[in-house]
């Protein structure tokens, strides 16, 4: 187990050390002269425009919902892909039907204009 995961562990440790280290170091040795402008949230170097808590359009919800639907479709492809050969034609037909049904949904939302932003 350890062998296969060792690179990931090393990466996690390095990432953590880098992130935490940067913050801690700048906190410790940084030179601080706070002013109102400096303490304001950073927005691409521009002056602030409005509040961050703006009300989002419901379109985001539709997009997120459709994303979840097709995300789940994609998730079903993983276990299918690893046994694709073993399942043979049966698995191929099965996944074909699966995708076809979702394709109907895709055509529906597309034609209905759910994917247009306007």
């Amino acid at each position: 187990m350890l062998d296969s995961y060792l690179p990931i562990i090393v990466l996690i440790v390095i990432a953590l050390a880098f992130a935490v280290g940067t913050i801690v170091m700048s906190h410790l040795i940084g030179h601080r002269k706070p002013s109102a402008v400096k303490l304001a949230p950073y927005e691409c170097g521009m002056p602030l425009v409005g509040s961050a808590r703006e009300r989002l359009s419901i379109k985001f919800y539709i997009i997120a919902m459709l994303f979840i639907v097709f995300d789940i479709e994609a998730v079903f492809l993983y276990p299918w892909a690893v046994v694709f050969k073993r399942l043979g034609m049966f698995g191929f037909a099965e996944m074909g039907v699966f995708i076809f049904i979702l394709l109907v949904g895709y055509v529906y939302v597309w034609k209905k204009g759910a994917l247009e932003w306007e």
Binding site: R86, L87, G88, M89, F90, I101, V104, V107, Y108, K111, K112
Partner: protein, 486 residues
């Protein structure tokens, strides 16, 4: 390796899922037609849906006395499933007939409506024909998700939104219980196949009293009792029934109830026969509670949809009595009762669809004053349906209650039968009150009623014929119901 694949291919027995397959294909076709055709043409959609239901009925009848099994034993088209399929198709058919003009009248000519009804019918079929807890669970989800959308379909009416949201939140919550119960039973038996669970429990009697098994059974029944609208899981019913579009309410009162009964019966009688004493005592109490809560609360309702919601709770209680009896008469009585209830309740809702006044749905008791003289046909039809809901001979409701209570007496639950009959007597009050308003009160003003829609009239006529047929000659259908049980 090849053998395994071939085995899997052989397992794919399309005959076993043909009815739901046909429905789903038609549903998808209507969805796509609706997208590519000019909008607002829902008449063709309702026509195609009716054709779909008829084709499905023919296909489904192939399974009668010719049981088909398939998909690694996950689905069976046996007599039981066929009988229930017919009930679902009838409910869907009557619903679609009464919907078309109603939707246009209310300003929601929506093409998605018909595919959703077809999908939910397919879900109900999977519940009735599923022999694996997975199939039953997924069928329940298909049924419920379509109904959540349908209940909240009138997007600009707060009541409809409330109905959709309430049904969704509580329904999702109850599904969680169901799933947890399934997980526990899988943990006990190591299989999700209903028959295999039964075999495991009879081979390992020690596991029957195990808390995990009992907890699994209890949690699973919560999920189904919610759909049946049995007390104390009935809280959603009045609000949802009242807020949802009337045809949807009609379908909701018959389809999911029958489907949940089908699943409950298959699981309890085939899978959990070993726990019969446990679930009998559970359902015994719940049946009484459900009957009393439904009937007593219905007395106080002035909105007819709400009253029918409580009456639907009460009827769930009567049907549960048959499951408590758990003998041939009681169980086949449930099958009969669900069919009879579909006829009488959908008929009553079809009358409600046509009872609207111009510009508003007219569903209060007051609004029904003088209804019987103003609109003689609807008045007579409503009277017949109400008499049937009361259980007065010679209507379907009487025959259904007769079989169920006869089953209870046969199994020795005499008190349960007596309480059931007493409850029926209580129900006379609120059903008769509607008739009194219809015939013995003068209308308060001169309404302009909505016109008679052909579709709804056809569904009322079908329902009247069904109610009277089942009431006068119940023997034939009852024989079929007896053939349909396990």
């Amino acid at each position: 390796m090849e053998n395994l694949v071939q085995l899997a291919m052989q397992n794919v027995n399309f005959a076993a899922i043909m009815p739901s397959l046909v429905l789903c294909c038609f549903g998808m076709a209507i969805l796509l037609i609706n997208v590519f055709m000019p909008r607002g043409k829902t008449t063709s959609a309702s026509l195609i849906s009716i054709i779909a239901l008829l084709v499905t009925a023919v296909v489904s009848l192939q399974g009668w006395n010719n049981p088909q099994f398939g998909f690694a034993g996950h689905v069976a088209l046996d007599n039981f499933a066929t009988f229930f399929n017919m009930t679902f198709l009838l409910a869907a058919g009557l619903t679609i007939l009464m919907s078309d003009d109603y939707l246009r009248r209310e300003g929601y000519p929506i093409g998605e409506y018909y595919p959703l009804i077809l999908f939910s019918t397919a879900g109900a079929m999977w519940m009735a024909s599923g022999t694996d807890l997975m199939t039953i669970f997924l069928g329940l989800e298909v049924l419920s998700i379509s109904l959540y959308i349908l209940a909240g379909m009138f997007r600009h009416q707060l009541q409809s939104n409330e109905a959709g949201l309430k049904y969704f939140l509580l329904g999702a919550f109850s599904t969680g219980f169901l799933l947890y119960g399934i997980a526990l039973l899988y943990g006990v038996a190591g299989t999700t196949n209903v028959a295999d669970i039964g075999l495991y429990l009879s081979a390992h009697p020690a596991m029957i009293g195990n808390p995990m098994t009992v907890a699994g059974m209890l949690l699973m029944s919560i999920g189904f009792l919610f759909k049946i609208a049995a007390a104390p899981f009935h809280m959603w019913t009045p609000d949802v029934y009242q807020g949802a579009p009337t045809p949807v309410t009609a379908f909701m009162s018959a389809g999911p109830k029958a489907a949940a009964f089908a699943a409950l019966m298959r699981i309890f009688i085939l899978g959990l026969a070993g726990l019969q004493s446990e679930w009998t005592s559970l359902l015994w109490g719940l049946a009484i509670l459900t009957m009393i809560i439904g009937n007593v609360t219905a007395i106080y309702q002035t909105n007819l949809k709400r009253m029918l919601a409580y009456s639907s709770i009460a009827h769930a209680g009567y049907a549960l009595v048959g499951l408590v009896a758990a003998n041939a008469v009681g169980v086949s009585g449930i099958l009969f009762y669900m069919l009879a209830y579909t006829f009488m309740n959908l008929g009553a809702f079809a009358v409600l669809v046509l009872a609207g006044k111009k510009g508003e749905e007219n569903l209060t008791l007051e609004g029904f004053s003088g209804f019987g003289f103003k609109r003689p046909f609807l008045g007579v039809a409503m009277t017949i349906f109400l008499l049937s809901l009361m259980g007065i001979p010679p209507t379907a409701g009487f025959a259904g209650k007769f079989y169920i209570f006869a089953g209870a007496i046969k199994s020795g639950y005499i008190w349960l039968a007596i309480i059931g009959v007493l409850n029926s007597a209580v129900s006379l009050y609120y059903y008769l009150r509607v008739i009194v308003y219809m015939y013995f009160k003068d209308p308060q003003e001169d309404y302009s009623w909505v016109s008679m829609h052909t579709g709804a009239v056809v569904s009322i006529v079908i329902a009247i014929v069904g109610v009277l047929y089942l009431g006068i000659i119940p023997g034939k259908i009852m024989e079929m119901a007896k053939l349909a049980i396990f």
